[in-house]
């Protein structure tokens, strides 16, 4: 019943190609985080603005991003927008989809972090003569970053893993795309995907450990 012969050599020979793919994966994930962080800041500002329209848009964004499959979000960026004549390349569509997802989760993360800092901290700053901006910049923000930092690194890991959904919109240069093409040519599915999984694992783990090391340096209190 178990007569499969492993051909690891074939997979290992393709390793350099797969590592090139891993770089693209990391690139998409990093870019999606940078864009996601910027968007999340904007969404948070909209939610705090008190403006009903801006607040509504931001709340809707967060709801959709967090409560629909990431796969659909990427699909929509590629095929959905295509219906309206907006044609994004697989790379761009993947980036847009993940950035959309990141922004939703990170905005919620920021909101929680902001809530975790008591108003009395701002009050203490204001009573020392600080302007609202100074009190936010020097007292609230540094504390917020600490609260938001580790959840944000989780999102980074999630972004790395989400890039693999790019194969569904024709992405073929990232780790999942490269692996899928190799598989299609050789049908050594297990070997190629196992190796790719190890690479994903190593990247994800490295990001987590690096973030933890950074956090213990940044937040000493």
């Amino acid at each position: 019943m178990f007569s499969y012969t492993f051909h690891w050599n074939q997979a290992l020979k393709a390793l350099p190609q797969m590592l090139d793919g891993a770089l693209i994966t990391l690139q998409v994930a990093l870019l999606s985080m940078v864009i996601g962080l910027a968007l999340a800041l904007a969404l948070t500002a909209c939610r705090l603005s008190g403006n009903r329209v801006l607040g509504g848009i931001a709340a809707t964004w967060v709801e959709i991003a967090r409560n629909t499959p990431a796969l659909f979000q990427i699909y929509m960026a590629h095929f959905g927008l295509g219906n309206f004549g907006i044609h994004l390349s697989p790379y761009t569509a993947l980036l847009v989809g993940i950035a959309f997802n990141n922004a939703g989760y990170l905005a919620e993360n920021f909101r929680g972090a902001l809530k975790a800092i008591p108003d009395t901290q701002t009050r203490a700053g204001r009573s020392l003569g600080m302007t609202p901006v100074q009190a936010f910049r020097y007292i609230v923000l540094p504390q917020m970053l600490r609260v938001a930092f580790l959840p944000a690194t989780n999102q980074m890991v999630w972004a790395i893993l989400m890039t693999s959904l790019g194969v569904t919109v024709g992405m073929n240069s990232d780790l999942a795309g490269v692996t899928q093409e190799l598989n299609a040519r050789s049908f050594r599915t297990f070997e190629f995907f196992a190796l790719a999984a190890v690479i994903y694992y190593v990247i994800a783990k490295a990001v987590t450990l690096a973030a933890r090391a950074l956090a213990s340096r940044l937040f000493r209190y």
Partner: protein, 240 residues
């Protein structure tokens, strides 16, 4: 001089200050006593403009606190306030807590701000704790740090809002000693407190608040020795 004239303040339908008149001269120490919800703490946060008022006015050295043209950020530099919850900035060391406002608000150099901070922290007995993070200290130490933080702005007035109420009993003494020291140095102070013995010792005048009204104000000997207001008589009988 702080002049409080017919100040009224409501939270929703609850009127917490019902026309308060009080003048505090330079160098004077006034303590405010009274039950919970009598409006004492609200009055302090109105004096430095953290809370708006509904009627009347508050003048600090001739500047109307709640006038639209008043630069509150500037005014607050000369009015230090310390709260019941000390509100240490947890992400900064003790030294950095005290240096922050002199640097960012007064625009002092790092060296100058540090010099002031070390001086004030030594003054309140925390000269050995400069590099410690506040969460590693006791409540009494954190409260003394909060006092040093306010003093580092060289305020002309200090407002103390029940600064010992959240402390363990054995830590109250060290904070009251700090307040006594300030009073003896001639600092103008308004202290909201539940510490009757302290109020009796340090005050030039003691004010008794009851349900948003200043029911009685007198030098401590008179107020504690021969209280006239029936509510004050009840209050003193209950707290002794």
């Amino acid at each position: 001089m702080i002049e409080i004239q017919n100040v009224r303040k409501s939270f929703g339908s609850l009127e917490v200050l019902k026309g308060i008149d009080l003048t505090v001269e330079k160098g004077e120490v006034v303590t405010v006593i009274g039950g919970s919800g009598s409006g004492k703490s609200t009055l302090l946060t109105c004096i430095n403009g953290l809370e708006p008022i509904d009627a009347g006015r508050i003048m600090v050295d001739g500047t109307e606190v709640h006038a639209k043209t008043t630069d509150l950020n500037k005014l607050r530099r000369k009015i230090g306030i310390v709260f019941q919850q000390w509100n240490a900035f947890p992400h900064l060391s003790v030294l950095e807590n005290v240096m922050l406002a002199p640097r960012k608000v007064l625009g002092l150099s790092k060296e100058k701000a540090e010099e002031i901070a070390v001086k004030q922290l030594t003054h309140v007995g925390l000269g050995e704790k400069l590099s410690v993070y506040p969460t590693r200290m006791s409540g009494g130490q954190q409260q003394r740090m909060a006092i040093a933080r306010a003093l580092a702005m060289s305020p002309e007035y200090m407002l103390f809002d029940e600064v010992t109420s959240a402390l363990d009993p054995q830590l109250v003494g060290e904070v009251l000693d700090t307040l006594r020291m300030l009073a003896s140095e001639g600092m103008t102070m308004i202290c909201v407190t539940h510490e009757m013995k302290f109020a009796r010792e340090v005050s030039d005048r003691v004010a008794f608040f009851h349900k948003g009204v200043m029911a009685e104000i007198a030098p401590p000997e008179a107020l504690f020795g021969a209280p006239k207001d029936p509510e004050l008589q009840k209050f003193l009988a209950a707290t002794h």
